[in-house]
């Protein structure tokens, strides 16, 4: 019995190896449906390839992609994959636009056996004039841009446009007055934003209002800066505000200084100023990261009233917890319109509300369509009408989702 087992092991192993070798020496079946086409929405110089795996993929050791400028060749290997792959984007720097290219994908077995696909092509790389992936963005931008212009026109005619009260902006005059009564300076920080940040630009309009009031009340205003360009803009803004208030003599350029371009160095510097100068009011307006709470809590410790505002969603909870007033996101951007009451600015503010209604409506419609589709798919059973309705709704949902999620 033992002998029989040994014999069977000795003889069956070479037979199995020979069978595998026989399979390997037979040509492998190539990949199927090789397609080559220009990469969409790109600046050119790129061709997309796609194919289906070989039926013998279990025996394939690697996939080789070849390119030629004519069907006759010569074909040059451009890439190889050691794992099963079904697509490749040829963005070789040698690839030229408006030129014919032909492709072939070879599968190579473990013993060197090969299978070559049919030649795909000609494929021509072309640069595009419009990125269709950004169509949804364009549509929304046009609608929103149109709304802004429309509401600006409305606002020019209707000067009594209603804007809800924003406590943080209403408190500016009170806060400046408090500093004046206490005989203490005002401190204004832009955080660690740059002039390219929209939040910093919005904060400049608040600084202008604060500086104008400070000039009227003859109160000192300190603006330590993280970015030299923001410092220059802040100096110009405060200077202008003091001039408008009729007190250019009170303007001190040395109160609007550069501290450092290091995040925690800036936080330490501003904290130091707060502890030494003990401001009566602290404005934290602009772009803030981890230093937000360090600044807000130090301001609280010196007894300052604080008005904060940022578009950074991660820092808003800290400001809400630590400050007396907080401008939440869009309220910061509404500051200039709210404070100046300029009809054009108010019109753009109103258009934001309309855009918000449209956005919420789109979210609601897509959510309802998605939910209905899911419900229909689960309850339709064998009912043909419900099945087709479910398919239609799901297709609609996928189309909407596809359109809205392209970027």
């Amino acid at each position: 019995m033992v002998l029989a087992c040994l014999l069977s092991v000795i003889f069956t192993q070479p037979v199995a190896a020979m069978q595998a070798e026989a399979i390997q020496t037979v040509a492998l079946q190539p990949v199927a449906n090789l397609e080559a086409q220009d990469t969409p929405n790109d600046p050119g110089g790129s061709i997309d390839l796609s194919w289906e795996l070989s039926p013998d993929s279990a025996l394939v050791k690697r996939y080789e992609v070849y390119r030629a400028e004519s069907t006759e060749g010569p074909f040059e290997k451009i890439v190889e994959f050691l794992i099963p792959t079904t697509y490749y984007t040829d963005a070789d720097t040698l690839l030229r636009n408006k030129k014919d290219y032909y492709y072939r994908v070879d599968v190579v077995g473990k013993l060197g056996t090969r299978g070559s696909s049919k030649i795909a092509g000609p494929a021509i790389a072309k640069p595009q004039w419009f990125n269709t992936n950004r169509l949804a963005v364009l549509v929304f931008a046009l609608i929103y841009g149109g709304l802004v212009i429309l509401y600006i026109e409305f606002a020019k005619r209707d000067r009594g446009m209603f804007v809800r009260r924003i406590a943080g902006l209403d408190a500016i005059d009170e806060a400046v007055g408090r500093s004046t009564e206490m005989g203490k300076p005002i401190l204004f920080s832009f955080g660690i934003g740059y002039l390219t940040d929209v939040a910093t630009l919005a904060a400049l309009s608040i600084l202008r209002r604060v500086a104008r009031r400070a000039a009227q009340y003859e109160t000192r205003i300190l603006v330590p800066n993280y970015d030299p360009i923001v410092m220059t803009a802040a100096q110009e803004t405060v200077k202008q505000a003091f001039l408008e208030a009729g007190r250019p003599d009170l303007y001190r350029e040395s109160d609007i200084t550069f501290l450092t371009a290091d995040q925690f160095g800036y936080a330490a510097g501003v904290d130091g100023i707060m502890l030494r100068e003990k401001p009566g009011t602290v404005f934290l307006q602009g772009v803030f990261y981890a230093e937000a709470l360090i600044l807000a809590e130090t301001a609280h410790s010196v007894g300052a009233i604080q008005i904060a505002g940022t578009n950074m969603a991660t820092q808003l909870p800290f400001f809400i917890a630590a400050c007396d007033y907080t401008l939440i996101g869009e309220e910061l951007f509404a500051a200039s319109a709210y404070l100046d009451r300029d009809p054009q600015l108010l019109g753009s503010l109103k258009s934001e509300d309309m855009a918000k209604i449209i956005t919420v409506a789109i979210i609601a419609v897509v959510s309802i369509v998605g939910t209905v589709g899911a419900i229909l798919a689960s309850v339709s059973g064998k009912n043909e009408i419900l099945l087709s309705l479910g398919e239609f709704v799901n297709d609609l949902f996928e189309t909407l989702k596809g359109f809205l999620t392209t970027s």
Binding site: Q128, Y194, P228, T232, T237, R276, E291, G329, K356
Partner: protein, 263 residues
């Protein structure tokens, strides 16, 4: 003209960048990236403005022996000391960014590693204490909103505990009862009664069904974070995005001019 020219430049640059966002074809497709490179090069030069301001401000304080002049001295020593370390390393290795200077006292990277990094770490570490003090103020159950915030925060903390869910929940229950009694004493009977009943109910439930409490705590935490928290956050983000677009349109069209001085 001093005000009109910047507005024209802003309009042209703004429209151009918006249009190129939709055109992948060169040279438009890479223009945004190229402009960012230009901006960073210009940003490097503007640092000179900052250094000029820093030296003038602190130099004046030092020369006039103004109040707190000693801090100005430290600032200027820090500035010129780091500059000297950079020059010495540059002279020795041909570049100030030589990693070998890490182990040389006074080398540029030595200053970075042994002075700047610890100082940054110290400031960042302060955050833990500031979070505690801000949380104490925010979570004092003075109003209904603050109480909701307090309960939500404690539930999230309990849900993230790897062990000790039962004792922690019992502590929460005791706190709720204590807050309720305090409210009753300061003549807020309805609010006080709600808090006390909630505390007693929570304590009783945890003691009656301890296994379910251990199982449910992470689920409650997960729900709080993924539903109400995410919903509020998305609402704020939609508002911020629309506000940013509106502000950008106002700047491009020259309606928003507060960033330009007319002096």
């Amino acid at each position: 003209m001093k005000r009109t020219l910047p507005l024209i430049i802003t309009f042209l640059a703004g429209v151009f960048v918006v249009v190129t966002f939709f055109i992948p074809r060169e040279p438009f497709g890479s223009l945004e990236q190229r402009m960012l490179v230009w901006a960073s090069i210009l940003g490097g030069f503007t640092l000179l403005l900052g250094i000029d301001s820093l030296i003038k401000h602190h130099g004046r304080k030092l020369a006039r022996r103004e109040k707190d002049w000693f801090y100005s001295l430290v600032t200027l020593l820090g500035l010129f000391g780091t500059l000297a370390a950079g020059i010495v390393t540059w002279a020795k290795y041909g570049t100030p960014l030589e990693l070998a200077s890490l182990n040389e006292v006074g080398g540029f990277f030595w200053v970075y590693k042994w002075v700047m990094v610890p100082l940054q770490g110290t400031m960042f570490a302060l955050l833990a204490f500031f979070i505690a003090s801000a949380a104490y103020r925010a979570f004092r159950a003075r109003t209904f909103d603050a109480t909701l915030l307090l309960i939500a925060a404690i539930l999230v903390m309990i849900g993230r505990l790897s062990m000790g869910v039962i004792p922690a929940t019992l502590v929460l229950a005791v706190l709720l009862v204590a807050a309720g009694i305090h409210r009753l004493l300061i003549r807020k009977p309805v609010f006080g009664a709600v808090l006390a009943v909630a505390g007693v109910g929570l304590g009783a439930l945890v003691l009656a069904f301890p296994q379910d409490a251990i199982r449910l705590a992470p689920q409650v935490q997960e729900w709080l974070m993924s539903v109400p928290q995410t919903a509020a956050r998305r609402g704020i983000l939609i508002g911020v995005t629309l506000g940013t677009i509106a502000m950008s349109i106002r700047i491009i069209l020259g309606i928003e001019r507060t960033y330009i001085s007319s002096t």
